[in-house]
């Protein structure tokens, strides 16, 4: 499993989206998110985007008020994950038009759906924005 979890957290440390690819109990999740948020949000722009945590790595990137944090196995390619985060943001941007924290808050299930299009079982399965968005848009039309 390459990707273990994807988190979106705002500046205040509130989780805006959490997607796990392995089962964790609520308590474990709460603890994990707390630790990670404390670790990553304290870092500044001049510091690198990789943090070692427990037995894996966190690759994170900040867009405006939102932090995108991806937990990956140690031998995962950090730069590729950064590219993946960027792709995710671009995709959401294309869909929502100038995406912001509120878009994700109010369309959480859509954001999840997009993620599901991109990542499956911790592996990245789709990297084309058009391909990712087709089913999302289709769904929007039908409902």
């Amino acid at each position: 499993m390459g990707i273990r979890f994807i988190l979106m957290v705002n500046k205040q440390g509130q989780t805006r989206l959490a997607q796990y690819y392995e089962w964790l109990t609520l308590e474990e999740r709460r603890a994990l998110e707390g630790e990670i948020v404390r670790k990553c949000l304290a870092r500044n722009e001049q510091q690198c985007s990789f943090v070692e945590h427990r037995n894996y790595k966190i690759v994170y990137r900040r867009y405006a008020s939102l932090f995108f944090l991806v937990g990956v196995d140690n031998d995962e390619n950090e730069l590729a994950i950064l590219e993946f985060i960027h792709l995710l943001v671009e995709t959401m941007d294309r869909h929502f038009g100038n995406v912001c924290e509120l878009d994700i808050m109010f369309h959480l299930e859509k954001a999840h759906f997009m993620l599901e299009e991109m990542v499956m079982n911790g592996c990245i399965v789709e990297t084309s924005k058009a391909q990712i968005l087709t089913p999302v848009q289709l769904l929007e039309k039908t409902s």
């Binding site: 499993m1 390459g2 509130q14 989780t15 805006r16 989206l17 959490a18 690819y21 089962w23 609520l26 999740r29 709460r30 670790k39 870092r43 500044n44 001049q46 510091q47 690198c48 985007s49 990789f50 943090v51 070692e52 031998d75 390619n77 950090e78 730069l79 590729a80 950064l82 590219e83 808050m105 109010f106 959480l108 299930e109 999840h112 759906f113 599901e116 499956m120 079982n121 911790g122 592996c123 990245i124 399965v125 789709e126 990297t127 084309s128 391909q131 089913p135 289709l138 769904l139 039908t142 409902s143």
Partner: protein, 925 residues
């Protein structure tokens, strides 16, 4: 309340309402949420699926972002799942993916839902159910749904097929037998040209290869082809990961792959792919000089980049190279040392690891000095990081790189005085360990211990207590090296020791006991007896240490006598001091402290009588008593002066079991006997009351007993050490190779750059890394005691997880010719109620007929695996020879290789030798 009314449904709050409501609650969010949960609980019981699904959606939101349990809705999620509407289904699948896990009770009920959707004509429904399966599949689900996944693996809808490929990973992991069914199709997908499919398949294989690379060696030609042809960086990265695992297993493969990787490294513009190439080369192709040089060039570019990400990764890659090619680190040392003062703590840690990798016996002193200065200036976290890595590097392999132990011991003392130091435990261990192992250093050790003990300020720092406990132990145990035992005694009994925790207090008291006995012995037995010459002679006779130490300790001893002559008067004062300091401890709540204080006071009372006698009435009076006292002192001293040596962990095992002793006998009855004995034995320790008359012999017996009891404490200290340090013999040649174990990473931060120290370091390492083999030490390295037998650490018997094992076994089966008979149990595992059962049977036979039936029964048994590898290798060799021939004949360009390799693989199969014995597959469930 049963279900909600129609009105409730009509005016149900949507998710959007919920979120808006939540945003308006500045305080009282919890109350709002619990109210919402109340509503959800009601709504979710509704018979109207829209109401139900909206409730479920809201619940998902609260569970996902506010950590509210949603397990109560598991069954409702299933109900929504059965809705014909896609939007409902989607919500239900989302909820299930979020909340279901292996022990969810209703998991059993989902199988048929999933099966229905997996065979649906709507590709989005199929995709949803596959997505869900990838999250929640357990053994049963994986087994029951294998046929459906198998069908979807060759679906003509790419959208579905790539998902089916991705889900296979989970299915294999949960139910290894499914490999027999699906693997062939998975491999077929490797030959697909669609990048979507390829990306998914390669992703799956890179995960599989991580767990057990050997099984996937036969697929190397396919991977090679993808590596050469791939246009997608993502796919290339994944294939490189696979090759990083495969190449070390098969040198010929490495030979072949290294060129394309270097080519990729030169031409690619993508940093991620470039870094992956670099990492692959430095981890798995480190013996290819030119490739490593190329990679190192790239690493340098990374390290000097402005981007902290690239800098970090560059340093990280460098630390991978460092284990095999130290020259690379020395070539780049300026950058590394400059990074030590980077604003990013993670980068600092990486560079610290690299600096430690450069340490050798020639530069250890200089580097440590500079690093300790760094530590003084840096923040607590990084400071301890530095100290920790110095400690672990220096103690590696029984202090392999330390030549000058006097220096190291004083460094330990210096380190413990650094304000942020929290490495007390490690320093404690090393101080005691060195004391035991290195005789020559004891003089210095005692000096360092004294300096620590005598400083009252240190007692206030709780991080230092462990160090102080070691210092106390050392000064008690090796008191004969002390210049001034009286001063030591005062240090051990100073009032501020009350700040110590009881366990360390106990060590202090015990050490004070030893020092006291030493003083008394010097005064009465040795000093009292007669003049200097004979004294030193008798000293040497009883103290075997000094015999071996020669000059050093006798000088020290001489100083003892000159600097602080122990007179009767001083002894009297000493005894008074002991009484004064320890009497309050008689009421201590800690048993250990109380008991030891009592022991010591008892002893003092006994001796005091004699000492006062001898001082007051001169020697002529009560000769008898004086003699008795000396006797006692001598006995106790002898008991203490027995040297403690390191003992091997396995020493106990070497004691032969005497004949007639059954070790396994049940000793349960002993307990009752022991409880009888307990009382009288505790009575015998009443010698704390000195007024009682005792005959000397019984007393000294007790004393010895007591001593042995207390030395248990120190032996347990020792045992702890022995456990920590494996005791090995040093290789006689001083090894230059720096081992690659790094101290664990934490995250610290260092402020203030110090360019002067940095340049110092550069210079030092520059000097030290030039391979000058001339030892620049005037002093020879002292003997470090090691035990004969290396304590073989119990080799952790690796039990590969049975599941993985059976997985790779199954993979091997498929790849190396499959069995002609499908294991019956796996057939019987198929659900009989399965309406597609027949179809599945059919499919299986198809698969088998497609596979080359060679009658090779080597199903996954562990013993047979090696066998099959061997066979495989032989084939490869043969094929390689063939290929070489064709190479010479055809001289084709590299892009044509894959085809040839594939034909090679085809040719490989008929070569298979049928096995001699049939083996029962051991992975059947």
């Amino acid at each position: 309340m049963s279900g909600p009314s129609l009105m409730d449904s009509l005016f149900q709050r949507t998710l959007e309402d919920l979120i808006k409501g939540l945003r308006q609650q500045l305080i009282g969010e919890q109350a709002f949420i619990s109210k919402a949960l109340e509503e959800i609980r009601k709504e979710i019981k509704s018979t109207d699926l829209s109401t139900k699904s909206t409730a479920l959606l809201k619940l998902c939101y609260l569970s996902n972002l506010h950590f509210h349990d949603m397990s109560f809705a598991a069954f409702h999620a299933l109900e929504v799942l059965s809705s014909p509407r896609f939007s409902h289904k989607k919500i239900a699948y989302h909820a299930i993916s979020l909340s279901f896990h292996d022990s969810t009770p209703v998991l059993l009920l989902i199988t048929n839902h999933l099966r229905k959707d997996l065979t649906s004509t709507n590709e989005f429904e199929v995709s949803l159910s596959l997505q869900c399966l990838s999250r929640i599949a357990n053994v049963d689900l994986a087994r029951d749904l294998t046929p459906e996944v198998f069908t979807l693996l060759s679906s003509n809808k790419l959208y579905v097929r790539k998902r089916a490929v991705a889900v296979v990973l989970r299915v294999f992991e949960k139910y290894p037998d499914s490999v027999r069914v699906c693997f062939k199709r998975l491999v077929e997908n490797l030959e697909n040209y669609d990048p979507q499919i390829l990306s998914a398949v390669v992703g799956v294989f890179s995960e599989l290869a991580c767990k057990d690379p050997r099984s996937y060696l036969p697929l190397a030609p396919e991977f090679y082809k993808i590596l050469v042809d791939s246009k997608s960086n993502w796919i290339s990265i994944k294939v490189l990961k696979i090759f990083a695992k495969l190449a070390p297993l098969e040198p010929r493969l490495a030979n072949r792959v290294v060129e394309p990787i270097c080519y990729l490294m030169r031409k690619t513009g993508a940093k991620s792919l470039l870094f992956e190439c670099v990492r692959t080369v430095v981890t798995s192709f480190s013996e290819y000089e030119s490739a490593v040089r190329l990679a190192v060039g790239k690493i340098r570019e990374f390290m000097v980049d402005e981007d902290p990400n690239l800098k970090y990764l560059g340093l990280h890659a460098l630390s991978i190279v460092a284990s095999k090619h130290l020259w690379v680190v020395s070539e780049n040392k300026e950058v590394v040392i400059k990074s030590l003062s980077d604003p990013d703590p993670n980068i600092k840690i990486e560079s610290l690891r690299l600096v430690m990798a450069m340490v050798s016996e020639h530069n250890v002193a200089e580097i440590s000095k500079v690093l300790v200065n760094y530590a003084l200036k840096s923040d607590p976290l990084f400071c301890n990081e530095i100290l920790g890595s110095i400690l672990s590097t220096c103690s590696r392999n029984v202090y392999e790189i330390i030549v000058d132990f006097d220096w190291y011991v004083s460094l330990l003392g210096e380190m413990s005085r650094i304000p942020h130091c929290q490495m007390g435990e490690e320093i404690e261990n090393q101080l005691v360990d060195i004391g035991l192992r290195v005789k020559d250093v004891r003089l210095e050790l005692v000096r360092v211990a004294r300096d620590l003990l005598i400083d009252p300020a240190l007692l206030g720092n709780s991080f230092l207590h462990r160090v102080l406990s070691a210092a106390a132990w050392v000064s008690g145990e090796y008191v004969e090296f002390s210049r001034n035992p009286l001063e030591l005694m005062e240090a051990l009994l100073q009032p501020r020791t009350s700040l110590l925790p009881p366990s360390i207090m106990a060590i202090y008291i015990q050490s004070a006991f030893k020092v006291l006995v030493f003083c008394l012995h010097t005064c009465f037995v040795r000093g009292g007896s007669t003049a200097g010459v004979s004294a030193s002679a008798s000293y040497e006779s009883f103290d075997d240490l000094s015999v071996e130490n020669g000059a050093g300790s006798t000088v020290a001893h001489g100083q003892t006598c000159t600097s602080a002559p122990i007179t009767n008067e001083s002894i009297v004062n000493l005894l008074k001091l002991v009484e004064l300091a320890l009497s309050p401890l008689l009421g201590s709540h800690d048993v250990e402290v109380q008991e030891r204080a009592r022991n010591l006071l008892g002893f003092v009372d006994l001796i005091k009588l004699e000492a006062l006698n001898s001082s007051g009435q001169e020697e002529n009076d009560s000769e008898q008593k004086g003699v008795e006292a000396t006797k006692i002192i001598r006995m106790v001293h002898d008991a203490f002066s027995k040297e403690l040596g390191p003992v091997s962990l396995s020493a106990q095992g070497k004691v032969p079991v005497p004949d007639g002793l059954t070790l396994n006998e049940n000793l349960g009855d002993l307990e009752t006997i022991c409880s009888d004995i307990e009382l009288p034995s505790s009575n015998t320790f009443s010698f704390g009351y000195p007024s009682e008359e005792k005959d000397v012999s019984s007393f000294s017996n007790l004393q010895i007993k007591e001593d042995s009891g207390q030395s248990n404490e120190s032996t347990s200290l020792l045992a702890e050490h022995r456990k920590r340090h494996g005791l090995y013999y040093l290789p006689s040649g001083k090894s230059e190779v720096i081992s690659n174990d790094y101290p664990p990473a934490n995250d610290p931060a260092l402020q203030g750059d110090n360019n002067d120290t940095a340049s110092d370091l550069v210079k030092l390492t520059a000097e030290s890394l030039v391979p000058k083999r001339k030892p620049n030490h005037s002093k020879p390295r002292p003997v470090v005691v090691k035990l004969d037998e290396a304590d073989e650490k119990p080799v952790a018997v690796k039990h590969p997880e049975s599941r993985d094992d059976s997985l790779s076994g199954a993979v091997l089966d498929i790849l190396f010719g499959s069995e002609d008979i499908l294991p019956t149990s796996s057939r019987s595992n198929l659900p009989s109620s399965n309406r597609k059962g027949k179809e599945k049977q059919h499919m299986i036979t198809q698969v088998e007929s497609k596979e080359n039936v060679v009658g090779d029964g080597n199903s996954s048994s562990r013993r047979r695996k090696d066998h099959s590898h061997g066979k495989e290798r032989r084939h490869r060799k043969k094929n390689a020879e063939e290929r070489n021939e064709t190479d010479r004949k055809e001289k084709e360009s590299s892009s044509n290789h894959p085809r040839r390799q594939k034909s090679r693989q085809r040719a490989e199969e008929p070569l298979k030798v049928p096995p001699q014995t049939s083996v029962i597959p051991d992975f059947l469930l």
